[in-house]
Amino acid sequence: MVKEVSLIGELQSIAGAGLAEEGPACTAFAVDGLTPRAVVRPSTYQGVAEVLRYGNTNRLTVISWGAGSMMQTGNRPSKYDIALSVAGLTGIVEYEPADLTVTCRAGEPLVALQEQLRRSRQMLPSGPFASREATVGGIVATAGASASRHAYGTPRDFTIGMQVVTADGRITRTGGKVVKNVAGYDLCKLYTGSRGTLGVIVELTFKLAPQPRHEQREALAFDDAATACAFARELERQGMSVKAFTLLNRAATGLPRGGYVLAVDLAGTQAAVNRCWETLSTLAGAAQQLSEAEAERYAGAEAELQTAASVTLECEITVLPSDLPVLIERLGETLEPGIVAYPTIGLARAFWTAGDAEAILTDLTAAFRKIGGSMLVRRCPPSLKSRIDVFGEVPPSFPLMQRLKREFDPNGTLSPGRFVGRL
C-alpha cells in the first residue's frame, strides 16, 4: 500500500500533479490485458528522463506510448508498472523548407506534421496510416511501412537524427540535422523499429520530400495475383512515376466476386503522369481498368481492415517480390483472409475475421518455411500470446540482439518481453 502511494507521488513530483495518474486512467493504457500501476505524461524531455531514471533505479518497468495505435502489436509484456506517454511532446522544433528537413517532437501526430509541411509543398514521405492520431515517434519506433514505401522507403531511410532518452535516464543525440552525415555510429537505425525496447525517442529529424506536382489514382481488375504483380513490376521496370502499388484480394475489396484489384498511385509532373497513364492503359491488356470513382473507393480499404474490430488475426509477411504471388495464393487457402499486398516490395498483410487463429498460424508457419521471409503477427487474440512469439522465429543474429538489449537496458526497464524472442 505504502509503495503504491510513493509511486504516484514520485511520478507527480517529477511530471507535475496533473500529469501522473493512477486508478481508472490506467485502463486505457492496458497492454495485452496488463494494466499499469500508473500513467505519466511528461511535458519535457527532462521529465521523460526523470521518469526513466526513477523506474530504472527502482526496478519498475516502463512501456512508452505514442497515440497507442500500434500497441496491440508485440509480445505480452513480462511486467508492466508505468505507462509513459510522450503524446504531450508535440510540435515542430525547427523547420526551414529550403533545407528540406524538419525537426519535431516525438508525440507530434503525423497528420498534423503533414499539414504544416504541405504549406511549403513538402511532405514526410511516410503514410498514410490507418490511425489519424499516429505519432511520428510511434511510426519510427515501429518502423511503420505504408504503400508509399515503393517510392520513398521506410522510416530508416528518412530519419536522420534523434534525441533518445536511455533506460538510465540520459538524454542523448544521434545523427544530426543535415541530410548527409557519417559522424559516429548511426544509432537512428537501431532505435527505428526497436519498439521502445532500447530507449524512448523524444525528438526526430527527418529528410523530407517535395510534394508531387500531380497525383492520380488508377485501379485495374485482374483474375490472378501473379498477373497483377507482373504488371506492377513491368511498370516499375519501365521507370513509371509511381508512388505506390497496392494489391487487394476479393475479401479486401468487399466485392461479391472477381479476383484482384491493383491500385496504382501515379505521382509526378503532369506530363509524366499523363505518360504513365498511357503506358498503363496500353499494358493493361486483358485487365479491366476501373473508373476513377471505383479507384477512389479502394483507397481506404487497407485502413478499414486495419481498424476493423471484426478482425481477429492480422499478419504482415515479407518475402522476395518474386515469391509474392505464391504467398498470396497460399494465404488465400487459409479461410480466404482479406489481403493487401505491395507487389514491388514483397510485403503482404492478411486479415482474418473467422477461424482458429492458432490453427491458421501453424498452417502458415509450415508453408512459410518453404517460401522463406519473415512474418509478424500484428494482431491476435491475447490468449494466444502466451503460446507464440508474434515476431515469428528468432533470426540467426538473435544472440547479438540479446547482447544489445543487455547493453542498452541491463535492468530490463523498457517494454520487457515485448520484442523479438521476448527481449
Binding site: R170, T174, V182, A183, D186, E407, F408
Partner: protein, 480 residues
C-alpha cells in the same frame, strides 16, 4: 620461435604462404590510405573466403593483436590505417559478384568488389547500383559500407545505407553471422553501415539495384559569383525539385581545370553548377526547364545542356578532372569533408574562403552542393616546414565553421583517425557512451580498427603525404 614468427606461421597455415605478407618492404604498401597519416601493421593477409577471414580474426585475437579491414585504401579519414599495428585483412581477393537477381533487383557481392563493377554486372539487366562515390573505379563495396559512402547522385537516391539490405559479417570472436535489414528484430545492418570497420568485418553484402532512368539531362550553369551559384542551389530545392545530382565548382578549381582540361570556362567566372535531372523524358525535360529559369533568376551568365551520353560526359569533364588538375597546381592538397544545412552554404563558403586567406593557403572547392556537403581542397607544399601542421589547423577551423552552422564533421569520408577528436564538438559524453554500448554488444572492444571514430589521446603513425598515390590508384577519372 618468437611470438611474431609463430603468428606468421599460423596465418600462413590458415591462408597459404602466398597470402600472408610480413616482409617490411611488402608491408609498406599497406601503411597508408588517401590521407596524411600512416601506420605500419605487423602482418597483412589476403583471404579468399569468409572462413579465412574468421580464421585470421581468431588467430590475431589469440595473439592479442587488433585487426583492421582494408579495401582499396582510397579512404580519406585514415580508416584503413593499422593505428595500433596488428593484422591488416585486405579484402581485394574477395571480389566476386556472386549473384544478380534481376527480378528482385538485388545483387549479392563479396566485399572486395569494386563499386563500379557492380553496376557493370547489373547493366545487362537494365539495372545499376546507385551510390557512386567519385572513387568508384577503385574503391570497394566493403569500404563503401564501412564509411557509408556517398557520391554525386546520392542527393536523389540516398547514400550506401539506403541500398544495403543484408550482410554477412565476421565478428570479433571470429564467428560468421548473417544480419538483414528486413528480418525481425534490431536493424543490425543499419548500424553496421558507417561503423568504419570497428564492429565487424563484412564478408558478403546484398544490395538493392535500381532501374536505369529513361532520360538524363545535364545542365552546366556558369555564374559570376559563388554566392549566386549557392543561392541557386537553395532555390532549386525550395522549388520542389530534387535533382539527381547538384554539384559545384568554384573559381580556383575552374582555373586549374581550364589549364588542363580546357572546358571553356570563362576566366572571370566565379562558379559553375552541374545539375542533373532524371526520370521519364517528360519529367526530366520539365525539370530541366524549371532549373533553367531558376538559374536565370539568379543571374546565370551561360547555360549548357547535355542530353546524350557523350555531351553529358563533356559537361562532367571539368568536375571529374578537378583533382588531377589541382595536383598540378600545388605539390600537395588536403581534402576536407564537412556538411552544413543547404541554406547555410553561401555564408559558410564565404567563411571558408576567409579562413583560408587568413592562413595564407589557396583553396579550391569542388563539392556536392545539393546535400550541403563541402569539400574544400587546401593547396600547400608539405616541404615547407610547418605547412602540414598549419593545414591541419585550418582544417580544424573549417570543421568548426560547419558545426557552428548546424552541420557535421563528415558527410561521407568518415571520422576515422583524423577527426575523432572533433566528435566531442557534436556529441556529449553520454552520446558517445551510448555508441560505446553498441561496440560492447558486438564484443568488438579494441579488436577491430582501434583508435578510430572515438576520441582518444593515442596518436597514429607519422604524418606524411600519400594522397597523390591513392588518387593515382583511384584511376585517371578520379575526382572527389
Amino acid at each position: 620461435m618468437t611470438a611474431a614468427k609463430r603468428l606468421i606461421r599460423e596465418l600462413q597455415s590458415a591462408l597459404g604462404r602466398r597470402w600472408v605478407l610480413h616482409a617490411p618492404e611488402d608491408l609498406l604498401v599497406y601503411e597508408y590510405d588517401a590521407t596524411i597519416d600512416r601506420a605500419l601493421p605487423q602482418a597483412v593477409v589476403l583471404p579468399e573466403s569468409a572462413q579465412q577471414v574468421a580464421q585470421a580474426v581468431r588467430i590475431a585475437r589469440r595473439y592479442g593483436l587488433p585487426v583492421t579491414a582494408r579495401g582499396a585504401g582510397t579512404g580519406l579519414s585514415g580508416g584503413a590505417l593499422a593505428c595500433e599495428g596488428g593484422v591488416v585483412i585486405v579484402m581485394t581477393r574477395m571480389n566476386r559478384v556472386i549473384k544478380i537477381d534481376a527480378e528482385n533487383q538485388l545483387a549479392v557481392v563479396e566485399p572486395g568488389v569494386i563499386n563500379l563493377d557492380i553496376s557493370k554486372a547489373a547493366a545487362p539487366y537494365g539495372l545499376y547500383y546507385a551510390p557512386d562515390p567519385s572513387s568508384q573505379k577503385a574503391c570497394t563495396i566493403g569500404g563503401n559500407i564501412a564509411e557509408n559512402a556517398g557520391g554525386p547522385h546520392c542527393l536523389r537516391y540516398g547514400t550506401t545505407t539506403n541500398h544495403v539490405l543484408a550482410l554477412e559479417i565476421v565478428t570479433a570472436d571470429g564467428e560468421i553471422a548473417e544480419i538483414s535489414a528486413t528480418q525481425a528484430g534490431y536493424d543490425l545492418t543499419g548500424v553496421l553501415v558507417g561503423s568504419e570497420g570497428t564492429l565487424a568485418i563484412v564478408t558478403k553484402a546484398t544490395l538493392r539495384l535500381l532501374h536505369k532512368p529513361e532520360a538524363t539531362i545535364t545542365l552546366l550553369a556558369i555564374f559570376d559569383r559563388v554566392s549566386e551559384a549557392s543561392e541557386t542551389v537553395s532555390a532549386i530545392i525550395s522549388a520542389g525539385i530534387l535533382p539527381a545530382a547538384l554539384e559545384m565548382i568554384d573559381k580556383n578549381t575552374m582555373d586549374a581545370v581550364e589549364e588542363f582540361a580546357h572546358c571553356g570556362y570563362p576566366p572571370d567566372a566565379g562558379a559553375v553548377l552541374l545539375i542533373e535531372v532524371e526520370g521519364l523524358s517528360e519529367e526530366a525535360e520539365e525539370q530541366a526547364n524549371e532549373v533553367r529559369s531558376i538559374c536565370e533568376k539568379f543571374g546565370v551568365r551561360e547555360l549548357r545542356t547535355g542530353t546524350d551520353p557523350a555531351e553529358r560526359e563533356r559537361l562532367w569533364a571539368g568536375r571529374k578532372s578537378a583533382l588531377g588538375a589541382l595536383g598540378r597546381k600545388a605539390p600537395s592538397y588536403y581534402i576536407l569533408d564537412g556538411v552544413v544545412p543547404r541554406t547555410k552554404l553561401p555564408s559558410v563558403l564565404a567563411e571558408v574562403y576567409q579562413a583560408c586567406d587568413r592562413f595564407g593557403f589557396a583553396v579550391a572547392n569542388v563539392f556536392h552542393a545539393g546535400d550541403g556537403n563541402l569539400h574544400p581542397n587546401v593547396l600547400f607544399d608539405e616541404r615547407v616546414p610547418g605547412a602540414t601542421a598549419r593545414v591541419l589547423e585550418l582544417g580544424e577551423e573549417i570543421m568548426r565553421l560547419c558545426v557552428e552552422a548546424g552541420g557535421s564533421i563528415s558527410g561521407e569520408h568518415g571520422v576515422g583517425f583524423e577527426k575523432r577528436s572533433y566528435m566531442s564538438w557534436i556529441f556529449s559524453e553520454d552520446d558517445l557512451e551510448v555508441m560505446a554500448r553498441l561496440k560492447a554488444a558486438f564484443g568488438a572492444g579494441d579488436g577491430f580498427n582501434p583508435g578510430k571514430v572515438f576520441p582518444t589521446s593515442k596518436g597514429c603513425g607519422e604524418v606524411s603525404s600519400h594522397m597523390r598515390a591513392a588518387i593515382a590508384k583511384a584511376g585517371p577519372g578520379a575526382y572527389v
